[in-house]
């Protein structure tokens, strides 16, 4: 069943469940990845090509996601979408700040080591879930 076929209450319940699951995976990911000793992918052999390819990929995916988000907004209930959107702002700001503090040798980096990609992703998902539930509980005006 597609999400648009669900009742409005159903959509809200799916969102609640998904964000609850996301928070759980984020905590497990943050904790579990701390024990992962797999070496990171080595640096790209051709930095120029990597720079161009990654910039192109970023632009392309951002445009696709913008289009998909517009469709999602039309099909979602506005309150649920607003909760998700506000939660996403919390998530982006939190991840930026945590990454800066965690990556710095002068701040948390000296004790925690550099964050892995999985840990940054877990931070992003976890803080999105926290933002979602914070607005869900306290209201969008909070």
């Amino acid at each position: 069943m597609s999400i648009s076929k669900l009742s409005r209450d159903g959509q809200q319940k799916v969102a609640d469940f998904s964000f609850g699951l996301m928070a759980t995976f984020a905590v497990l990911g943050l904790f579990g990845d701390s024990f992962d000793t797999t070496p990171l992918i080595p640096n790209a052999p051709n930095p120029v090509l990597t720079g161009i390819a990654s910039a192109a990929l970023m632009v392309l995916i951002a445009l696709v996601v913008t289009k998909v988000a517009a469709l999602d907004r039309k099909r979602s209930e506005e309150y649920t979408f607003q909760l998700m959107a506000n939660g996403a702002v919390v998530s982006v700001m939190t991840t930026l700040f945590v990454t800066l503090v965690w990556s710095s040798e002068f701040l948390l980096g000296r004790w925690l080591g550099a964050p892995s990609h999985s840990q940054i992703l877990a931070c992003l998902l976890g803080s999105w879930a926290i933002g979602y539930f914070a607005y869900r509980t306290r209201g969008l005006q909070a």
């Binding site: 009742s7 409005r8 209450d9 809200q12 506005e78 209201g139 969008l140 005006q141």
Partner: protein, 65 residues
């Protein structure tokens, strides 16, 4: 923003779920609007006004803040 949604709903003896069904939103959304936790979009505000047959400014009032 304050609103009279709860009063108008009570006058018609509708539950939050019934009102949500008529507005095509979730019950949680109706609850959030009634308790001032969410300001509806202009589209939804117009839908609410049409449903209750009352001008928007009679239902929503930003001067009550």
């Amino acid at each position: 923003m304050k609103n009279r949604l709860k009063v108008l709903r009570a006058e018609r003896d509708w539950s939050q779920a019934e009102l949500a069904g008529k507005l095509d939103v979730s019950r949680q959304a109706v609850n959030a609007i009634e308790t001032g936790k969410h300001d509806p979009s202009l589209t939804l505000a117009f839908r609410i006004a049409r449903l209750f047959g009352s001008p928007i400014e009679n239902i929503f009032n930003d001067e009550l803040d």
